[in-house]
Amino acid sequence: MTEFNTTGTSASELIRNSAAQLAEKLAAREVSAVEVTQAHLDRIAAVDGGDRGVHAFLHVNTEEALAVAAEVDTIRAAGGAAAEELHALAGVPIAVKDLIVTIGQPTTAGSKILEGWRSPYDATVVKKLRAAKMPILGKTNLDEFAMGSSTEHSAFGPTRNPWDLDRIPGGSGGGSAAAVAAFEAPLALGTDTGGSIRQPGAVTGTVGVKPTYGGVSRYGAIAMASSLDQIGPVSRTVLDSALLHQVIGGHDPFDSTSLPDPLADLVAAARIGNIEGMKIGIIKELHGEGYQAGVENRFNESLELLKQAGAEIVEVSCPNFKYALGAYYLIMPSEASSNLAKFDGVRYGLRVLPEDAPMTIERVMGATRAAGFGDEVKRRIILGTYALSAGYYDAYYGSAQKVRTLIQRDFEAAFAKADVLVSPTAPTTAFKLGEKLDDPLAMYLNDVATIPANMAGVPGLSLPGGLADEDGLPVGIQLLAPAREDARLYRVGAVLESLLEAKWGGPILASAPSLTELVTSHGGSR
């Protein structure tokens, strides 16, 4: 590595740069895109594999990533119009959640049923990454079909939290969050149906954003619950998320639910640096009882900082949020039961033959789905089938859709009083691997604060709010804005982030374990 470091920046320092910093150094030709990409690939090789590795990646895309990086370097070296036209993030590598389809790499959705499948098409967001010439480092681990809050439901083994390798990295996008937290990638893509970007962000000390529903194309994200799913950015800084959001956002004619509105200048919003006079609403129902003391403390500190920055803190009440989790666990499995019907062993993916006669297609479908899906996926499919079935639709799915209306009304009332709402992202810090695996309900409660945003389609951002006193693990602060007002999240988030960094003496992730013990015991094992 060292012979490439003409700027004197070592590989281990390179990976600690934010995407914005890397972009600057690349533009100034202080480092090459190949150097940056190779540094991250080396980090992945050092910390991701082995029994005690982070296991953020299901697939590492070494050759293609380096080829894209080399192309960027060639264009930049040649100068002229082509170099001028390079995207600001050209050459900045990124990891992609393995729920998002990519040509040339496997896409598994964390499931055995898609093991070995290769997509013949790219997701719209992947096309946009390719257009920006961002090297794709690989595909990150997730709970099977994004169903879970710990990444333990991946068919390919759990991801470990870089802060404590015996703890969960959150889920479903634990792989993307852990990859960014472990400096294996400066940026990642996640998907968020009930908190799958924000909750992993909270427990790994990273930033994650669920955009307004329709703000980023879902085309090519393997659907769990179509009316709740959103793709969004994962990063270490608020500005980096804004930069990535700016790449992937905007209208897509291939997604009927994609907003036709032009994308706001989110990067500019993240750079405003001032929230004076803004009204920040505390959601009465989303803190206090049921929230870990250390989470509550960090939350209260953030409120203080926001106040010091000149924001007005108001309290709002969202009484119907108490139904959100229940309604979510009816709508999400209902839509999932239908979305996952296509995995049947006919057109692609796994086919399993029944062990006994008769060998009919119905039995092949039944055996394939029995063998290909894990327990949590089966549980949700059966629950969703139940909620939609004759005689139960009105009581379950129908009622849940009405609750959705009530939650939207709560948000409307709250946003009449406040520009942005704030809450803890998750009720606790990262729990131990295996701790909640046999208790689905306890697992579902992790999403209590993140679900309302998906139900109403409003955008949410989670940023690290410091470490909990009792366990020294990261705590997430969630900001929520009205639909189409994602820019407010970046404006407030960037200000809060800088105040928190001042308070903690630097980025929270700077105090994460270096994982050097992994480097010594497993370095280069992949």
């Binding site: 499948w117 290769r118 013949p120 307004t212 529903y213 329709g214 009316s227 709740l228 009927s256 639910t257 907003l259 036709p260 119907n320 139904y323 229940g326 309604a327 666990y329 009816l330 019907a341 062993g345 006919v346 057109r347 692609y348 993916g349 796994l350 086919r351 008769p358 060998m359 009919t360 297609i361 119905e362 039995r363 092949v364 479908m365 039944g366 055996a367 789905r369 029995a370 899906f373 089966k378 549980r379 499919i381 059966i382 629950l383 089938t385 139940y386 079935s389 009581a395 379950y396 009622s399 859709q401 009405k402 609750v403 959705r404 209306t405 009530l406 939207q408 689905p440 998906n454 639909a483």
Partner: protein, 98 residues
């Protein structure tokens, strides 16, 4: 609302085309009963006057012009097929119909 029992789960598993062993049915019935109990308050949350929301952001009339776009070759279409014959997907017999 009635509690969910093993027969219900067996019926739902058939509808969902997931073969389940007797043990699995028992376990699933127990787990689902707990979850269904936890979500049942939803059915009492909203009155009849509350409309249902199916899409979080209301949009209407999103159309595509009737213009031909890309297609796959048969080879591409069948590239991931577990079984194929003469450029078509091959499946075991369908006996459901007689």
């Amino acid at each position: 609302m009635a509690a969910i029992n093993r027969d219900d789960v067996a019926h739902l598993a058939r509808l969902a085309h997931i073969e389940m062993s007797p043990d699995e049915l028992d376990r699933m019935a127990g787990e689902l009963a707990v979850i269904v109990d936890a979500v049942k308050s939803v059915s009492e949350a909203a009155g009849d006057d509350v409309p249902a929301t199916s899409h979080p952001i209301p949009l209407t009339n999103i159309f595509r012009e009737d213009v031909v776009g890309h297609t796959f070759t048969a080879e591409e279409a069948l590239s991931g097929a577990p079984d194929a014959h003469e450029n078509r997907f091959k499946v075991p017999a369908i006996l459901d119909e007689d």
